[in-house]
């Protein structure tokens, strides 16, 4: 059973399009995150949610809108995609607070043409 699963694994699309990435965790964790890993491999936090409530928003452009329908799901919608959005996006979860070990999905590789 996959603990944190993201779909799709690959996403290739044109500039200006809108796309969504879905994430689900079956660990019973309260906190979920979205990270972006750029070509230089830096992993940077974008958002975190605790029990469906937005806790951290790291100066991400408002073209990115996370949504948490319940504490097991955290989706990421991106409007008007730009070339600079090309990256690998990782979803993660932890028991309650960020200082707990985080469990990551295997990433969604987004390529903008």
């Amino acid at each position: 059973d996959t603990a944190v699963s993201q779909t799709p694994k690959y996403l290739v699309t044109q500039m200006g399009n809108d796309k969504s990435i879905k994430c689900e965790q079956n660990l019973g964790h309260d906190t979920m995150y979205w990270y972006k890993q750029d070509s230089k491999k830096f992993l940077k936090i974008m958002f975190s949610y605790n029990n469906k409530e937005l806790i951290i928003n790291e100066t991400v452009p408002n073209r990115f809108s996370p949504k948490s329908p319940d504490k097991a799901h955290l989706n990421l919608h991106i409007n008007s995609l730009e070339l600079g959005d090309s990256a690998v996006y990782f979803c993660a979860s932890s028991r309650n607070r960020a200082h707990q070990p985080q469990h990551f999905g295997d990433g969604t590789r987004l390529s903008i043409l």
Partner: protein, 114 residues
């Protein structure tokens, strides 16, 4: 400015030797430090967590040290094996409560040769 630095160059060692990876940081006051392993095409996997009041933590062949005066953590893999080849990420735990977050280094790639 705030920085977290890991050896950007790959570390190549012979099987059976001890690998030592370094994580240095400036202008952060982390309450915790975590180490993760990342394989190509996969998400990071948690390995160890060490708190600011702990000097050393061990788990099987892994050992982490945390020196808040030097602002440095060292990650050791003893009796290294080719299967240990991966990228290792250190992450500082900053902030508190629900607003706490992890700040990741860029990782060090370890290659263990048989």
């Amino acid at each position: 400015s705030q920085k977290i630095e890991q050896n950007s160059e790959a570390l190549n060692i012979q099987e059976g030797k001890t690998a030592t990876l370094t994580c240095n940081y400036t202008n952060y006051s982390p309450a915790y430090l975590q180490w993760y392993r990342q394989d190509p095409g996969r998400g990071p996997v948690f390995l160890l967590l060490i708190r600011e009041n702990e000097k050393e933590k061990r788990k099987e062949r892994l050992k982490v040290t945390f020196d808040t005066t030097l602002k440095q953590s060292l990650f050791h893999i003893t009796a290294s094996q080719p299967a240990d080849s991966a990228t290792y990420l250190c992450a500082l735990g900053v902030g508190s409560g629900n607003t706490g977050k992890l700040i990741f280094g860029q990782g060090t790639t370890l290659q263990v040769k048989p």
